[in-house]
Symmetry: C2
Subunit: 130 residues, 2 copies
DNA sequence: ATTTTAAAAGCAACTATGTTGCATTAAAAT
DNA sequence: ATTTTAATGCAACATAGTTGCTTTTAAAAT
């Protein structure tokens, strides 16, 4: 069993996630980290955090990849089956933890992971853009 | 109104889509196209086909982007709200045209597009792997 | 407290994917 | 046949992510 270590960089990344209400891309994290660590290190930290079910990965229709903290640890089978909203205007991606899709799958499919992303206009942009 | 033209390259791409039962990446199409046209041309054809609602774009959790023919033209509001299945073993992505997620969104969100991708093991790989 | 060990980081080089500008070609309307 | 402009080719660029290898360092063992 390989142990996971608490490094300065990892702590900084987790702190950034803690402060953010929206999902963050590698680049956005890098901007906040500055030169505290190398950009490769951020990639590796994100990989580890995803592996340890501490953050989850969100892939948008435009190809951008973002990460957000998990708010639902207890479960044994850890699937992020909630929706994500991607605003085409402000480009923010938010977890909609309470929006869970229901669907009926044909037999003989084994689902390990779900990516459910809705794009459009978020409440903020819908109001101001009218 | 700008008109769309039928070129040799576009015809070839459409033919490739016609023959394929699974979704195709730019690279996969390029391999089949050979040197019939430049790789940039394939990108531009795919963009046009997506714009014209002839194919739709699928983004997988591993970041790979694939395209598949649309089988549902008639509708006015053209949203590809069906599920896609991405097999972690054979790496094929298939449209599950009949699997449509239902979900309840909070007020004030305007949805323009949906990306709903399930990853796991497809029926083929589930059988042969165990 | 000191030593050990292997996880994590730094750095450079590389790959993969997608984009842009501009000159040239060719589909299709006239 | 001529005209128009969508589409292509090509080169250069941009961005995101990966890999190999050495060095550093967290934390376990002593
Ligand atoms: Mn989420
Ligand atoms: Mn589809
Ligand atoms: Zn917004
Ligand atoms: Zn499979």
């Amino acid at each position: 069993m390989k142990t996971t270590r608490n490094t300065a960089a990892k702590t900084a990344v987790l702190e950034i996630f803690g402060k953010s209400k929206t999902a963050l891309s590698h680049t956005e994290i890098q901007k906040q980290i500055g030169d505290l660590c190398d950009r490769v290190t951020i990639y590796r930290i994100l990989d580890r955090l995803v592996n340890d079910d501490i953050v989850h990965k969100i892939v948008n229709l435009d190809g951008t990849v973002k990460y957000a903290k998990c708010h639902h640890h207890a479960q044994r089978v850890h699937i992020h089956n909630h929706a994500h909203f991607s605003c085409e205007n402000c480009l923010e991606i938010t977890c909609l933890e309470n929006v869970k899709p229901s669907y009926i799958l044909p037999h003989n499919y084994k689902v390990n992971d779900i990516n459910f992303t809705l794009s459009g206009l978020c409440p903020n942009c819908l109001n101001s853009n009218n």
